[in-house]
Subunit: 289 residues, 2 copies
């Protein structure tokens, strides 16, 4: 087997195993949570991820994973997709290496979590391996709290910094700045959340690049459940729920107008339900006056 094929298979296998571990970690939190604040009788059962495979007409497909209406998580999506084919001419112009050869292969894990309690921060994590005439890793993780809390933000960043520092002295500085720049809602002139890291076109050296990408996933798996457990039983009321729905509207705006992964998915004929699993279960755009 060609080396590049081995790399593709390794990357794909990693994304799938990481997905399984993250889903298990979130389900464990559901199981240990006796009830939700808005469901004091515990009528709502601990939720489980449901999976559904989908095929892409032009090559490949994925498995969409969704946990819905849980005690802790109102909606959580954990998708892995592995797609290949030929970029459309218009889209090829936006992708490195695609102008020479529009053939592509891409595999990745994509995760978005919308907790029920407005005091538990929503989060996004995605890592991917893309092969055109070039080949690279990309991804990152960023925290999108409804009510930013210094302690959570610091812990999230510190854990990602640890993953970065093990692989490149300038990684955290570069990738956290990239995250701040990328996850910025230009028309609202506001950041989407409190940052994290974002990287793309990482093609220095396959082995270390892959190891870094794995460590980003493991850092996420380590820190996010801690943030959930720290906040999930905190008391909230109607005002916090209302503000949560408002902030979720802003999150949906960013994803539909700017997000690169969403755009990649919609422009390459991905399954729209899988691509848009990131959208919040319920969101509001109240009249601004």
């Amino acid at each position: 087997m060609e080396e590049i094929e081995r790399r593709k298979q390794s990357a794909r296998a990693w994304f799938e195993s990481l997905r399984d571990r993250i889903c298990a970690a979130l389900e464990a939190i559901e199981t240990e949570s006796a009830f939700a604040l808005d469901d004091p009788e515990g009528a709502r059962a601990p939720a489980r991820f449901q999976r559904k495979a989908w095929q892409r007409e032009d090559g490949g497909g994925g498995v969409m994973g969704l946990l819905s209406e849980g005690r802790v998580f109102e909606k959580a999506g954990a998708n892995v997709s592995t797609v290949f084919g030929t970029f459309s001419e218009a889209f090829a112009r936006e992708i490195p290496g695609a102008a020479e050869n529009p053939g592509f292969w891409a595999s990745g894990i994509s995760l978005v979590i919308h907790p029920r309690n407005p005091l538990v921060p929503p989060v996004h994590m995605n890592t991917r391996y893309v092969v055109t005439a070039k080949a690279w890793f990309g991804g990152g993780a960023d925290l999108n709290p409804i009510y930013p809390q210094e302690e959570d933000t610091a812990a999230f960043h510190a854990r990602l910094r640890r993953a970065c520092d093990a692989h490149g002295a300038d990684y955290y500085e570069r990738f956290s700045a990239w995250c701040d720049k990328y996850f910025f809602n230009k028309h609202r002139s506001e950041p989407r959340g409190v940052g994290g890291i974002f990287y793309d076109y990482l093609d220095a050296d396959w082995g270390p690049d892959f190891a870094f990408t794995r460590d980003v996933g493991l850092a996420f798996l380590d820190i996010y459940p801690q943030l959930v457990r720290r906040n999930k039983d905190r008391v909230y009321g109607e005002a916090e729920r209302t503000h949560q729905l408002f902030r979720r509207g802003r999150y949906a705006e960013f994803n539909l107008v700017y997000d690169r992964g969403t755009r990649f998915g919609l422009m390459t004929g991905g399954n729209p339900d899988a691509v848009l699993m990131s959208l919040p279960p319920l969101a509001s755009w109240p009249a601004p006056i």
Copy 2:
């Protein structure tokens, strides 16, 4: 005064007077509606439009008009904006006449109505006059029912056809086909609603083009209140409300990913609250599995 200045002022004055008449028509429906089905005690007062002027840094501005949490209308936006300046280089490539001269002037009315009762169809109407090195009218109106009803769809189309037929033998055929093509959610492979008309770059002859644009507004003003009155007291339940929030999610998707007016507004530094008044007050993206 130059002829083109007279035309700009006439167009702008029309859009403002049409806005006033539509707001009055919607407020009249609020007044005559004793209560909403979800508010049998009538605790909710008949709602009124609130207006707020905004200035655009690079020239012009507008008046955002919003009616919110009414008995019949959950959220209705009626904006007029008149903006001018210079297109960004990237955006100028998308606009006729802007490559030669990136200066522009644009005035228009934009209206989006999200009724509370899922059996009352949401609607969108917009007409505008744009001046670059060229000058043209554009706009249209389209119906976006949660539960399409043959009678409403037929009445809406018939009234717009009447406006079209008075101005061009092929207008209805061309502009209703354009509407179907334009208001199509490509990634979902589904139309946004049940159509109406859409036209753009209408620059045949100022007088008749302006008269047609006025008639489109008057047709809307005539037919939409009829559709509201026909349906506003029909009984609905939780299932219809749930489906309404789901369909509103699709509406938000279209506007944020594809809508030309939204894109124009966000890319030309318009007030984001005004540009995005079209977004629904509450929308859902339930897990698809």
